[in-house]
């Protein structure tokens, strides 16, 4: 009896050990496959035919350096589908090891613990110096004081200037340290009815909103710790009033993209990616054909500087990755390697997140290559300054929804000529209630 018991127990234990050992050997002998999650096309909603070139080059280099590692990615996922595709992978437990993160997703993913906390990796890697990144770019990947992602490509917003129209009106292109007053003066001068039909058809500015103005007036809109919006701040009130005064110049006439494309508007905010796309062949024949244009900084408010929003494409590591070291190496290759980062100027529309690369001569030459000789390329130092001094979207979980509500409310204040101070207070309370929910 005792013998049978002994045999049963021994056999059961042996089976257990064998299963464990088998599983262990199985996982060790295979080549490691690192999943990479990316989307095709441009993050900046401009046409891009070369979206895989940089990644393919990086993969080739990485696989050469790490013999037993293969990097796999699904091609053909569009930017619009990427968020859904990625969420699906997360739900199914198939989160890629390294992946691109859309700016709309970053806060949510960081909050949910999908992204790996990179602080330890950053601090322990002696060959890694995070000060080589633009500060704003690095800040984009930070959530409540923790680095969850590294920047890959960055795009500042610039002010588009219709040089032909300004010349016609006898006005010089503003210097890079221009102010709200300068902008208002120019807008006041150019806003008029040209064809004499009684309707204004030449405008000063299009698509410039209270957020752009508030940023340049040094306003801090969100308190990230308290989860609160601050609209009753004097800087914000000034910005809204300024936008209101600009709107008043148009005498209730709506400015459209069409007006701008046909050369009847002087200023429009434009992303650096748009600038690069439509300045170069072949896309330059598609838009803005009948006038000369250039980009400058945003005008500064009373309490602020000539700054604008900087958008950054982030990349992160899955918090559940089984190959932390390799994932970190690959992430570093994409975001920290100067050669790969230089390729962003060659094959993409944004700018490199590394200060050295963006301000280098080589980058300037690459930018100049595609641009007609008569046109002046954007000054590298100006570009670096705009990126370094720019602002990034606050790390508030419901940021997008809160801003949508704020936009709606402020548009109403401007359209219906409401009292700015009191209306903003009401709006502030409404949004804070929403944020607390």
């Amino acid at each position: 009896m005792m013998k049978t018991k002994y045999i049963i127990v021994t056999i059961a234990l042996l089976v257990l050990v064998a299963v464990c050992a088998g599983a262990y050997i199985n996982t060790n002998s295979r080549t490691i496959v690192l999943e990479f999650g990316m989307f095709a096309g441009s993050n900046w909603d401009v046409a891009n035919a070369n979206s895989y070139v940089i990644i393919d080059k990086a993969i080739e280099r990485f696989e050469k350096e790490h013999k037993n590692v293969k990097i796999h990615y699904y091609s053909g996922i569009l930017k619009d589908d990427y968020s859904e595709w990625f969420s699906k992978q997360v739900l199914l437990g198939k989160t890629p090891d390294v992946f691109m993160i859309l700016s709309n997703d970053f806060n949510q993913f960081a909050e949910l613990g999908i992204l790996k906390n990179l602080d330890e990796l950053v601090n322990n890697d002696k060959s890694f110096d995070k000060d080589k990144y633009f500060q704003t770019a690095l800040l984009s990947g930070e959530y409540h004081g923790t680095q969850y992602a590294l920047p890959y490509e960055t795009v500042p917003t610039l002010m588009f200037v219709n040089k032909t129209l300004l010349e016609k009106e006898g006005i010089n292109v503003p210097r890079s340290d221009w102010t709200w007053d300068d902008l208002y003066d120019i807008c006041e001068k150019v806003t008029k009815d040209i064809n004499g039909d009684g309707i204004i058809d030449q405008f000063g500015i299009y698509n410039y909103d209270w957020l752009d103005a508030a940023r340049t007036n040094g306003a801090v809109l969100f308190d990230e710790n308290e989860m609160k919006i601050d609209l009753s701040n004097e800087k914000v009130i000034e910005a809204v009033k300024f936008i209101k005064s600009l709107y008043a110049l148009n005498r209730e006439q709506n400015v459209t993209q069409e007006d701008f494309d046909s050369g009847n508007v002087v200023f429009m905010p434009l992303s650096f990616a748009d600038y690069r796309t439509y300045k170069t062949y072949p896309y330059k024949i598609k838009k803005y054909l009948n006038f000369q244009w250039d980009c400058i900084t945003f005008p500064a408010g009373k309490d602020g500087g000539n700054i604008s929003e900087v958008n950054t494409l982030l990349m992160g590591i899955s918090s559940k990755t089984a190959h932390e070291e390799l994932a970190w190496e690959f992430l570093k290759l994409l975001t920290y390697d100067e050669e790969i980062q230089m390729d962003i100027f060659r094959y993409s529309q944004g700018a490199s997140v590394l200060k050295n690369v963006t301000s280098s001569m080589e980058a300037e030459l690459i930018l100049q290559e595609d641009i007609e000789e008569s046109e002046k390329v954007i000054d590298n130092l100006l570009l670096s300054r705009v990126i370094e001094e720019g602002t990034v979207a606050p790390k508030i979980l419901k940021y997008n929804e809160a801003i949508t509500i704020a936009n709606g409310g402020i548009q109403e204040i401007i359209r219906y000529d409401k009292n700015v101070d009191s209306s903003l207070k009401i709006l502030e309370r409404k949004i804070n209630q929403f944020l607390k929910q």
């Binding site: 968020s83 969420s87 997360v90 437990g93 949910l112 613990g113 559940k320």
Partner: protein, 440 residues
């Protein structure tokens, strides 16, 4: 050993828990697939606080962990039910595995801990460890509550997944899940009641048996006292019988002879003046009758002698007595005599024998002696008999029946007796001996 019902209860609990755990994991897996197929993954992620790491792997891991639970159950119940080390080890394994399962389920279901408590209740017998284990398990149930933990930690909630369905299906799903939880708790409670009842039954039985034992003990005590009483009565009856025998003997022999002598002497008194010759004849008859009477008394006295002495020589009788006492008690008795031939007159032998017997009895009964020395020494017309023991002795001696008896016996032979209770107890008797020609 556990009853069959206990095992059935436990199997039922394991089954219910398996259903609950599989429901949670498989339901989450299926719903995840549906969410992905409906292209609302991003929206779903916006709604939740946390996500299960790998829904498919969770199913496999929980089935494996349940396999270990069942394996430990089988080992405990069927293979080593009486080995307390194995039982405790398996209980510990159960506890750890249950905690792991609860963690994998992100505290959406913690009913499996009731299974652990049920086992602890059955297997740990009322000691400190039991209460400690119980406290730990109950604490774990309280702590391992989704609502509690989710305050501080990000946990996925089965409710988020249930809310994917339309309201009708939601109600069915929630209803099913809550029913499974309730059934598990219900079975646990019934099981506890069953265990408590069972234990109370055992306690009653023990009390009953104890009562019986107490009664039996009392009866025994009574019987013992009665027996002592009986033995006293028997002793007295023996004494009475002996007295009656003595009385009869005296009456038959001495009475008869003395009566004859008295009658003869009366006749002589009337005859002595008339016929001195006849009187002489009569006195001769009286003399003969008197001598016959003496012989008769001798014979009677002989009849009263101790059995041993009647059959054996004094020395053999003493040896026999010593052997008998030694065999009955743990006392060593050393007998030594420097008189060559221990052969005296029967009354003298009787006295010696009785003195030794009485002294030995006293030494053992009162002195609690372990060693006794008996010594007979011959001298000028007398012998000195000493009986010495190493017992507790006695400083203030009270005359008991035995010692008085000794004194009387020796006095009858014109001897002396001394008692000394300072070092053990010593009886020294000096007995004059009639070294007659017939005892050579």
């Amino acid at each position: 050993m556990q009853g069959k019902k206990f095992i059935q209860f436990k199997i039922l609990m394991i089954a219910i828990n398996l259903i609950a755990v599989l429901f949670v994991t498989i339901f989450i897996y299926i719903t995840t697939q549906k969410i992905c197929n409906n292209f609302i993954a991003r929206e779903f992620i916006n709604r939740v606080d946390a996500l299960p790491w790998k829904p498919d792997r969770n199913i496999i891991i929980s089935i494996c962990l349940f396999g270990i639970l069942i394996f430990s159950f089988i080992i405990r119940e069927f293979i080593y039910p009486n080995n307390s080390k194995v039982v405790y080890l398996s209980l510990l394994i159960d506890f750890v595995i249950s905690i792991i399962i609860v963690c994998i389920l992100n505290f959406n279901y913690n009913g499996i801990l009731f299974l652990v408590i049920a086992n602890i209740i059955t297997y740990t017998k009322g000691n400190k460890g039991r209460y400690l284990l119980m406290a730990i398990s109950i604490m774990s149930i309280l702590i391992a509550d989704y609502e509690m933990i989710s305050i501080n930690f990000r946990l996925y909630s089965i409710n988020d997944y249930i809310s994917f369905y339309d309201s009708m299906t939601q109600q069915y799903l929630l209803g099913f899940f809550n029913t499974v939880i309730s059934i598990n708790i219900l079975i646990f409670i019934i099981y506890c009641i069953y265990v408590i009842q069972n234990q109370r039954g055992t306690i009653d039985e023990v009390n009953h048996l104890y009562e019986q034992l107490r009664k039996a003990n009392e009866d025994l005590q009574k019987a013992n006292e009665q027996l002592k009483e009986y033995s006293k009565i028997t002793e007295k009856m023996g004494e009475t019988r002996e007295r009656n025998r003595l009385a009869r003997e005296i009456h038959d022999t001495l009475g008869h002879t003395l009566t004859g002598i008295s009658a003869g002497i009366d006749a002589c008194l009337t005859m002595v003046d008339k016929s001195p010759e006849d009187t002489k004849k009569q006195l001769e008859v009286i003399s003969r009758v008197t001598r016959e009477g003496i012989n008769e008394i001798r014979r009677s006295v002989n009849k009263l002698r101790p059995d041993a002495l009647e059959r054996l020589s004094l020395e053999s009788a003493i040896h026999k007595m010593i052997i008998e006492i030694e065999s009955m008690t743990h006392t060593h008795i050393y007998f030594e005599s420097d008189v060559k031939n221990l052969k005296f007159a029967s009354d003298e032998e009787d006295a010696i024998y009785r003195v030794i017997q009485e002294s030995l009895t006293n030494a053992i009964r009162h002195g609690k002696a372990s060693q006794i020395w008996v010594h007979i020494k011959g001298g000028q017309g007398e012998i000195i008999l000493t009986v010495k023991d190493d017992g507790i002795g006695c400083k203030d001696m009270k005359m008991g029946f035995g010692t008085r008896h000794i004194i009387e016996r020796i006095k009858m032979l014109n001897g002396t007796v001394e008692f000394d209770g300072t070092d053990g107890f010593t009886v020294t008797a000096k007995i004059p001996i009639r070294w007659g020609e017939e005892y050579d």
